[in-house]
């Protein structure tokens, strides 16, 4: 029990820390693309850890108490986590592409090879 709580607290601290870092990066960075870097990576990673805490908690209590409610909770958190990871990555592609095509240029860029490329569709 103590070991479980120790792991839960560690996972939750890591998760909340990275989520907070994502929002701080959203405030600090200068343009859309760097903000996307901060939010996509950090919030996905943080959510993976907070959901892992719920999954470990669910499986542990499923094994101890035998109540299938906890097992179902862990399985559903797993599904939600998978949805979150896939949709986050795809959504950030969509935003980056829309931002570039609607004319938001990266600030302070040392190289921009997309500007010369002629993409037609």
């Amino acid at each position: 029990m103590t070991v479980l709580i120790f792991f839960l607290v560690i996972f939750l601290i890591i998760g909340v820390f990275f989520n907070g870092l994502g929002t701080v990066g959203l405030m600090r960075f200068p343009d859309v693309y760097t903000r996307l870097h901060a939010t996509t990576k950090c919030t996905t990673f943080g959510s993976i850890f907070t959901s892992f805490a719920v999954i470990i908690y669910g499986f542990y209590f499923w094994k101890v108490s035998g109540d299938s409610k906890y097992g179902v909770m862990a399985l559903h958190s797993l599904v939600a986590l998978a949805c979150l990871v896939i949709t986050n990555a795809t959504g950030s592609h969509a935003i980056a592409r829309a931002a570039y095509r609607s004319g938001v240029m990266p600030r302070k860029a040392v190289i921009d090879e997309l500007k010369e490329a002629k993409l037609d569709e």
Partner: protein, 90 residues
């Protein structure tokens, strides 16, 4: 020691982070900045819903998080699609 509190405090902290990312929605100079803020709020709300579901110890609450993750993604894609089409029409 009640396990209820372990999940509740991080969930409330995630709600405070939503307040932080709302500032980007207020300040954001361009529309993609605001969409990024919306996307961050979506992710934080889903993570918070999973934690609240564990704190209230109800299975049905986590299903809300699944539905929410899949539906909020549609709105992000829709705005991105609209931005692309708008510049192509001009």
């Amino acid at each position: 020691m009640n396990l209820f509190n372990v999940f509740l405090l991080p969930a409330v902290l995630l709600i405070l982070f939503i307040l932080t990312s709302l500032f980007r929605l207020v300040l954001g100079p361009s529309i993609p900045d605001r969409v990024v803020a919306l996307d961050t709020i979506n992710t934080l709300v889903v993570a918070g819903m999973i934690l609240f579901g564990a704190a209230f110890q109800e299975v049905i609450y986590i299903d809300v998080a699944i539905v929410y993750a899949l539906l909020s993604y549609i709105s992000t894609l829709y705005i991105a699609n609209y931005l692309e089409r708008r510049t192509k029409d001009k």
